[in-house]
């Protein structure tokens, strides 16, 4: 039995790395006595595969993992048992059974959205957004695998929205992840700063979603 799980990582755990999060999941699965499947071989491990890496420093509203179980259990039961043993900042939102041949999350997730809470300042976010999205290219030095090469993020920035509130604004940016263009969060932030946004005015950031983008449509990994 294979399950796809959507979960939340609260702000208290924003400093965990990907390996820390995997360890947290594995140990939670053990504490909850979930009948997970183990891989064969010299060093058996839980067949757990995580979605795209949540960058250190961000929390996430909708993160994903797939888990393979050795025996069938009820989905409701699984969710309850896991939520019982998680530390409070982690909570499963949703869980579905998926087919064994369903491609891995890492292969299908190709877009993500980030929400920025921005303090009011002399910079009008609507204007900034218009200028930002009007640019033909947004070139920075790559921080990823191909270090120190120029990289144009512009084709990977799909959509920017701004919502204005009394004390602050919320800006949401949809961008590409994985292949062919991986817009890293730190690179995205760098271009924002380069185009005039003051980092100090960003009160909080979290990843609001991971998507499978087909054309102009964004599907969550739970509903494709």
């Amino acid at each position: 039995m294979r399950l796809r799980v959507e979960y939340r990582v609260g702000p208290e755990l924003r400093f965990l790395g990907n390996l820390d999060m995997m360890r947290l999941m594995q140990r939670s699965l053990r504490r909850a006595s979930i009948p997970f499947a183990l891989s064969q071989g010299f060093n058996p491990h839980i067949k757990l595969s995580m979605g795209t890496v949540l960058p250190v420093g961000l929390w996430g509203e909708k993160e994903y993992f797939d888990i393979e179980l050795a025996e069938d259990i009820g989905i409701k039961d699984f969710v309850e048992r896991m939520n019982d043993v998680f530390p409070p900042p982690v909570l499963i939102n949703e869980c579905n059974e998926i087919l064994n041949d369903e491609p891995a999350l890492m292969k299908i997730i190709n877009a993500a959205s980030y929400k920025f809470f921005v303090r009011k300042s002399s910079l009008d976010l609507d204007l900034w957004k218009d200028e930002f999205t009007a640019k033909d290219s947004l070139v920075i030095r790559s921080r990823g695998k191909k270090k120190d090469r120029d990289k144009d993020l512009r084709p990977g920035i799909f959509k920017v929205t701004v919502q204005k509130f009394h004390n602050f604004d919320i800006m949401e940016i949809w961008s590409s992840t994985g292949m062919p263009l991986n817009v890293r969060y730190d690179e995205l932030l760098e271009t924002m700063v380069l185009t005039g946004l003051d980092k100090k005015n960003i009160i909080d950031v979290f990843r609001s979603g991971n998507y499978i983008k087909e054309g102009l449509k964004y599907f969550t990994p739970m509903k494709r």
């Binding site: 702000p11 924003r14 965990l16 820390d20 140990r27 699965l29 053990r30």
Partner: protein
């Protein structure tokens, strides 16, 4: 404060999750409902402090079994310290983010002599005066425990009290007393606390020295204050608290696994070994208790590994049964069993084979010295034959990498003994190459011998830095290809030696070294030898007095008043046998060696699983 930390401070430091707390199984008790508030302070980073078993025991004990509370704090890494100082953030606890100066008691764990500068730094970061004499009734009590406090004197002026021995036997008594005597002044409280067995209050004593600078006496300044402090010990490990819900770190720490303490103490009697004396006698836990603890810990933590910890796990009477049964129980759940170090014999390899049915990583053995003669001197009861048998068995059963621990700078050591290390390594390598499917990797770790208080070698002189460096060079010249030698830093070991057998006159130099910026002295990237030497010189202290001097048997030592149960006569006898190159066999196999501890505590060796019984001393 928590909000500022998460939003503003932690994003700017390396490994921010060290400073956030909130782990699974963390216990946060209601501050106002708790009687005495204590913070367990570990003078090194989170990853090291959280790996320490003693802290886990005390944390669970106080929080689960008393109406007091215990929170945790660790030494911040210098990047964090810098921001804390710049932005006036005091040292805080990970549970309630309370400044540590708001606690009633701050308990430091002294695992290593050189961590004293980190303790001063943490007190300072907390805004607490580092000298005990400058703290009035309004300040928390600053206490310490751990192996180092068996010679507390170099640190005496910084602490209000030391807890000597197994703290789970005495900490509740200590805190209960404070809870019931809140009306007393600091001085009155300390005088009465000193009546508790195992508690040493340094301010209640004055020290005199002889004209030749050696220690003369430690005299109580008040009537009724005890003349000697006897350590506390847990008599039966089956009847004592052990944590079944360990705090689960989010980040990768040094030892991140379920721990079973199979026994406490070791009776092998290696003459250099501090822990082997101060934690006598051997007390074992029964297999039934251990299996129950394993079950609870795995259930509550989800750990993927269970480690069998002790000073010499392969000497645990039930080791084979326990390992076999744990492997059988947990293998199918994907939980492994591990042994921290192995005894040098074929039996150990057999047990290790049970454990490592699958993956064979590096095998670690500790012959400690290169020749039989020197092993006899240090009483490391390992013959060359045993070692080679163990190594052959290991390589035949699939290991490809082996790590051997040695010491150099030992008493009576000659060039032949150093050459012996290399010969031994070459032989191990050739046994490996003959018996393993491919070329094997042989690594040796060489520690500088540091004579420690309360050991048979407490009278011995320590090698100078120059001697150690010459020896290191010699070993390097003899070294062969594909044998890796790794040396401990001789200068760190030298200072460790000064503190290990030091006295109260060292405290101004410790203070000055810290003032000059010394901290994280156990970390090579921060250790600054020159600053320490400057500090010692400015305080007119000749460090060679503590390290290089061969002490006479009639000399009184500053730590003699700490009673470990082992007699000075026994230690002297062992030192004399070392000179004569005579071994003293293990009392578990060959009968009592008369160290005195069983008589002192009215105990017998507590062997749980087999009918090994030594004669009472």
């Amino acid at each position: 404060m928590k909000d500022k930390l998460f939003k503003d401070v932690l994003p700017r430091v390396s490994k921010p999750a060290r400073y956030t707390g909130g782990e699974v199984n963390m216990i946060k008790k209601d501050w106002n409902q708790s009687s005495i508030k204590m913070v367990f302070a570990f003078p090194d980073i989170y990853e090291i402090g959280m790996s320490h078993l003693g802290g886990k025991i005390l944390y669970g004990l106080i929080n689960e079994q008393s109406n007091h509370l215990m929170e945790r704090t660790f030494a911040p890494w210098p990047d964090m310290e810098q921001i804390m100082r710049a932005e006036k953030i005091p040292l805080y606890s990970l549970e309630s983010f309370s400044p540590v100066k708001n606690f009633d008691v701050i308990g430091f764990s002294l695992q290593y002599e050189m961590s004293i500068t980190n303790i001063l730094n943490m007190l300072d970061l907390a805004g607490i005066p580092v000298w005990a004499k400058n703290r009035d009734d309004s300040w928390p009590l600053i206490i310490a425990g751990g192996p180092v406090v068996f010679n507390p004197e170099p640190f005496a002026d910084f602490f209000d009290a030391f807890l000597i021995g197994d703290a789970e036997d005495m900490l509740l008594e200590f805190l209960d007393f404070l809870a019931n005597n809140k009306h007393l002044s600091r001085q009155e409280r300390l005088i009465q606390l000193a009546e508790i067995e195992g508690v040493y209050v340094p301010a209640l004593y004055s020290v005199e020295y002889n004209e030749d600078e050696t220690f003369k006496s430690l005299k109580p300044r008040f009537k009724g204050v005890k003349l000697e402090v006897r350590k506390r010990l847990v008599k039966d490990l089956d009847k004592v608290y052990f944590p079944e819900k360990p705090v689960l770190p989010y980040i990768d720490i040094i030892h991140d696994r379920a721990v079973l303490e199979v026994m406490r103490g070791c009776q092998r009697g290696c003459r250099f070994c501090h822990a082997g004396i101060v934690y006598r006698p051997v007390r074992e836990r029964s297999i039934d208790t251990l299996k129950k603890q394993a079950d609870m810990q795995v259930k509550n933590s989800g750990y993927e590994e269970i480690s069998l910890a002790s000073l010499s796990t392969l000497d645990y009477s039930g080791v084979k049964t326990l390992v076999t049964e744990l492997v059988e129980e947990y293998e199918k759940k994907g939980v492994g069993v591990s042994l921290p170090s192995l005894r040098v014999d074929a039996f150990s390899i057999e047990v290790a084979n049970e454990v490592q049915k699958v993956r064979k990583t590096t095998l670690t053995l500790a012959p400690e010295a290169g020749t039989q003669r020197l092993r006899n001197i240090i009483n490391k009861n390992v013959s060359e034959e045993q070692l080679f048998n163990a190594v052959e068995a290991a390589f035949k059963s699939g290991w490809l990498s082996i790590k051997l621990y040695f010491m150099f700078g030992l008493p009576g050591e000659t060039t032949a003994d150093l050459d012996g290390i290399i010969e031994l390594l070459k032989k191990v390598k050739s046994i490996g190459d003959q018996n393993a499917p491919r070329t094997v990797e042989v690594r040796a770790s060489l520690a500088c011998f540091v004579p420690k208080a309360h050991t048979p070698f407490q009278w011995q002189a320590q090698n100078s830095i120059e001697e150690l460096e010459l020896k290191r060079k010699h070993l390097f010249e003899q070294k062969k290809k594909r044998i890796v030698l790794k040396f401990h830093d001789s200068r760190t070991s030298y200072l460790e030696g000064v503190l290990a057998r030091g006295d109260r006159r060292l405290s101004p130099a410790i203070y000055l070294a810290w003032q000059k910026g010394c901290k994280f002295d156990g970390w090579s990237e921060y250790f600054c030898f020159e600053r320490w030497m400057e500090a010692l010189e400015q305080c007119n202290i000749n460090p060679d007095f503590y390290t290089r001097r061969l002490r006479a048997y009639n000399e009184r030592f500053p730590w003699d008043f700490i009673n470990t149960g082992v007699t000075k006569e026994y230690l002297q006898r062992e030192n004399e046998r070392a000179v004569k190159e005579i071994i003293t066999p293990d009392c578990r196999q060959n009968g009592c060696t008369g160290c005195g501890v069983c008589t002192a505590f009215d105990l017998d060796l507590n062997i749980k699983e087999e009918n090994h019984r030594a004669l009472k001393s």
